[in-house]
Amino acid sequence: MNKITITRRIFQVVSLILLVYGAYIFKEWKGSYETEQSFFPSLQAPAGKISTTQFEKGSILWPSGATPVIENYPPSLVCRFNPKGGLFKACILHFFSENLTWQTQIKYLLPYITLFILLCFIFGRMWCGWVCPIGTVGDFLTFLRRKMNIPLRRFPQNFRMNLSFTGYGIMVIALAISTIIGMPNFARYQCYWFLPYCQICPARLICPMFGLIKPNWKDFSTGITTTFTILAWIVLGLFIAAFYFGRRVWCHMCPVGLINSWFNKGAGVELHKKAIKCIKCGYCADCCPMGLTKMYEMNKDGIYNQNACIMCFRCVDVCPREDCLTARFFGKRIQSKDFFRRTKDAKKIP
C-alpha cells in the first residue's frame, strides 16, 4: 500500500470512530450533549409533525438503544442512526427529507445548505472516499474479497450509468414522498412514510453494530413496515454484493454521493494530468475503484475531475511517472515528489 492509501485508511478509521462515538466523546468531555447556541438554528419538528424522537426503540426506524445526536452541529452527511451519536447533525438526504416533511422555512435551512455547499465546493466528493462510514465498511469487504482470492468483477460503463439513474430515481421518490406526507391532507401517513430512504438505507442496519447495539432488523406490524423491512434487506444484500464482488459499485447509486457529485467538476480538490508524461501503462484506470478510465484515455493536459470520482487518489498513488498525475488544491499542487513514495514497479519503468 502506498502513502496516500495508508493516509486515507487512517482517515477513514478516525472518521468512523468520530462518527460513531462523536457525541459520546463530546458528552464525556463537556458533561452533557447540550451545545452552545451557534449560528445554526436548531431544527425541530413543529407541532403536529412527526420526528424520529417520536419512534419507540425497536420500531422500524430506530435501532435499539440510545442514539443521541448533537443537533446543533452542522450537517455533514452523517447518518443519525449512529449508535453513540454523530458529532454532526445528519446525512444531507435525511436533512432534506425531514425538513420537507416538516415544511421548515427555507431561511432556517440556509445556514446548513450554505455550509454543505462550501464543503462540497472545497472537497467535492472526497467525503465518499475518505469519510463515509458505509464506504469504509465496503472497503473492508473489498479487502476481504482480495484476501479470499475472489476475482474482481468489472462492470461495464452502461451498467454503472444505469446504477446512477437508479440512485437518482430513489432520491426523487424519497424526496417526493417526504414532501407529500408534509401536506396536511396526507399528514396521517407520516408515521409510516417518514424518512423513506433512511428506512431502507444500509447504514441504518450497519452503523448501530459499531456501537455494539443490535439494529432493528424487522418490523412486521403493518403492511408498510413489512415492505420497508423487506426492501431494507434487499438493499443491504445489494450493498454487500456490490462491495464484495466489485469495488465501490454501490457508490454509483448512493443518493448522498450523487448529490456530492454535482460539485465534483468544480471542486477545489482537483486531479490534474500532464499528458506528455503519460506512458499509457493503464495503472490509473486499473486501480480506480469507481472504474473510471478518462484520465487514462485523454491525451491533453488538464483537470480530470469526473462526477463519479471519489477523490481517493489511488491513481496518483500508483502512477509510475513523476508529475504525470497530481492532486491539486485550487490549482496548487498538494502532492510532492518526496512525500509520496513511488511504487516498486515504477522504478523499473524507464
Binding site: P41, G48, K107, L110, I117, L118, I181, F186, R188, G266
Partner: protein, 180 residues
Amino acid sequence: MKKIFLFFLFVLYAFVLEADEIPIEFEYPAIAGDFYVAGTVFFPPLSVPDPDNILVIDKSTEKEVISKITVIEKWPDGSILSAEIVFPASSQRKTRYAILYGDKVRRKKSFTDASVLPTISFVVPGAGKTVESMDVSVGQINVRVDRSASIRYWWYLLPALILIFLTILRTLRTIRIQRK
C-alpha cells in the same frame, strides 16, 4: 409512455379522492361505562365547506356515530380549517372510530347539549399527542424569545449563491478542458 403517465395521474387522483378518512386514536379509560371522546382536527383548504360534511363512523359497523362538531377556525375561502369533534363511546364496547369528511359525506346524527360524562382526548396519526394533565414544578421559568431578524438567516443566501456561481464557473472550465 403517455398512457402510463395518464394512468399514474388517474391512480394519484383516485388516491386523493379516497383520502378523506382520518382514523382516530385514543386509549379506552379504566372506568366502566360511557364517556365522550373529543379532539381538534385540521382540514385542508376547500375540503370541508360545512360542519355537516364531517361525520364520525364506527369502523366495525361502518355506521355513523352521533357527534357534536364545533367549528374553530376557517380558511380564507370559507372552508373549515379546524373543528372540535365530540362523540360518545363506551368502554364496554371497544371499537375503532374514524372521521369522514368532504363534499361526498353528509352528517345525519348530531347533538348539541352534552351530558356530564368524562371526556377522553383523541389524536389523529401524524399529530402531536395531547395530555390530560401536566405537572409543572414550581420555580423560575425562563423564556427566551428569538428576536433576531430574518436577515440573520437570509444573509447566508449571498455566500451560497457565490459558491454555486463559482462551482458552475469551475465546472464549465473543467468541461471545456476535457473537451479540447
